[in-house]
Symmetry: none
Amino acid sequence: MSKRKNNEKYYRIIEAATRVFAKKGFYQSKISEIARAAQVADGTIYIYFENKDDILISLFEEQMQAVLDNMAVQISGIDDPAKKLERFASTHLGLIEKNKDMAEIIQVELRQSGKFMKEYKNEKFSQYLNIIEDIIREGQEQGLFRKDVIPGVAKRAFFGALDEVSRCWVLSRRRRYDIRTVAKQISEYFLSGIKT
Amino acid sequence: MSKRKNNEKYYRIIEAATRVFAKKGFYQSKISEIARAAQVADGTIYIYFENKDDILISLFEEQMQAVLDNMAVQISGIDDPAKKLERFASTHLGLIEKNKDMAEIIQVELRQSGKFMKEYKNEKFSQYLNIIEDIIREGQEQGLFRKDVIPGVAKRAFFGALDEVSRCWVLSRRRRYDIRTVAKQISEYFLSGIKT
Amino acid sequence: MSKRKNNEKYYRIIEAATRVFAKKGFYQSKISEIARAAQVADGTIYIYFENKDDILISLFEEQMQAVLDNMAVQISGIDDPAKKLERFASTHLGLIEKNKDMAEIIQVELRQSGKFMKEYKNEKFSQYLNIIEDIIREGQEQGLFRKDVIPGVAKRAFFGALDEVSRCWVLSRRRRYDIRTVAKQISEYFLSGIKT
Amino acid sequence: MSKRKNNEKYYRIIEAATRVFAKKGFYQSKISEIARAAQVADGTIYIYFENKDDILISLFEEQMQAVLDNMAVQISGIDDPAKKLERFASTHLGLIEKNKDMAEIIQVELRQSGKFMKEYKNEKFSQYLNIIEDIIREGQEQGLFRKDVIPGVAKRAFFGALDEVSRCWVLSRRRRYDIRTVAKQISEYFLSGIKT
DNA sequence: TATGAATGAGAATTCATTCAT
DNA sequence: CATGAATGAATTCTCATTCAT
């Protein structure tokens, strides 16, 4: 594990797989396609990854950690929970804008991960959602957000809104709206709803 | 097409497939499993469906039409756009509560339908989302909702919130919250946000 | 056997099968296609025929008997073996001209009959070829044909020549030569070769 | 294509397929049988061939080219068109004697190739027949053969005679006549017929 | 007899994974 | 480490044949 990550090929494969999975979907993607995209031999992939599932999981863990780290930095300097939520939204959408393939995989492939990867518990993704939950609790403690809001439900509502809008945004050719405008609108709706 | 729908086996296969797809996912589901679940021979499936893809599409069209019809009925008697949205939310979540397998398929399998079914345009699903958009426009025309809300974005935010919450609700074993309560909360957040 | 032949449907199926086999070949032809062409149900075919092989065999026996009977009549009035051969050629080609589908089946499908029908001995076809052999022997006895001609080989050479020419003639769209002219030429070549 | 031909397995599969197709016929031959006969895994066949049709076509093209080349050599040194035809006959029959399986395939399977391989135009086989046509034209130009012989018909008559005789010869267990004797007889008959 | 829906054995083909080089 | 040819298990789909109506 530690050894393989020191190797440039590991990342080349991860990146190739991200492109291929995003374009064709996990099941439609063939190992040989990923190998070609990464400019390695089919067999080489099995030096760095256990199997096909492992590529998807690794790819996800790898990128999700970066996303988590980045989000922590983005939010750290802000005190106001409302502003934090707004920043979460714009960071999330900004991320998707930069990294469409990864967004596609998170939204589509990972949704069904439970179906084919029994043992894989999507820990990183939960952590990501929990950032929202923590902000809401913080707001409630500071008396800024309504106490009757259920943080566990609200975090999903907020994320779901962001996610669905971004999916549409990613898929559409012509971008009618700037992603920042959209982020602002969504957090505004949501905040008006939960503010005291 | 007309003949096959008069047939009991057509629906038996649809129902079996709904269960199997929901449990294992489209690609992990084998025709022979669906056949066994429907208590028919493998070959019988091909009397009623072109191929595996066709099962998924038929299943979806069949159920989505029922969902659309039902939603139209639910909303028809209501005048207030705000109340309409609330009713949309509770109807949607109620539907999912009753029809978890189908909900699972719509949320997970159909998301990636574009990947493997080039020609299939998810028309029914668009119609469903457009119900929300229409309500929002109606509210704007009546001066009840803010004019700066972009209906095309707001419909996705609203649906995404509902969808994500319901996914979580469907997947979790223990149901901490009543689905009606959840529906009410989500539409409340959202309505506060878009009301003038 | 005797019962089934009294039935009009038996012949309808034979005729339909002749058309279908000729067009698509035995293995590419589906029972359901033959049934449709004969305007009967799939199952009905199995009332009149044992199985798919049996259709081909029956079709062949049925038609070959007619061909044999006809050839006997054509030749009976002629005394000169040379004239008999000429008549054989023109009758054969004339038959093919009238009955292209059957010709196609005899030439193509029956050639490989040995491969899939172990037990079927192509008795009628042997009889047909033996007409030629008998004529040659007759000619040799009358001192008209060379004694060193091996009748068993010559019959095949003569039939092969006719058969190959007719195959080409059947398959080609534009008919450059009249089939009678061709028949005459072939029997001429052959006769010059074997005449004393 | 160039890579696959350098490979020993490509030819091992071709040879195995020749044996299996000749014995059972194309449709009765199963990929797994060919694989077993070639001592490779089923999947290996698909590394070297597109599909089952492609095996038959490749096998045919491969061998037919050798046959064409060989025939060209055999005939090249001869001036007299009559002697050329005789050499054609003996070479053809000699080839069949050495290569019974291939002969069987050419005679039986390729006949029906038009039925299942729409796009495959049997170019090599036409070239082979045209050798005969060219010899006949040459003979006519030299005034050796009758001008009223239609080369396009005569080539088929000659080839058909050879082909039918050789088919019988290949199929029969006990070989009553030497193939050279037979070749001589057939070309004699035919030559007497077309000589001026 | 006639029907045609149902059956299920059978076959071609794919592709993740291995392993000798 | 890297390779990519070889493997063969697994899966979809076909279609001759049956049999209840």
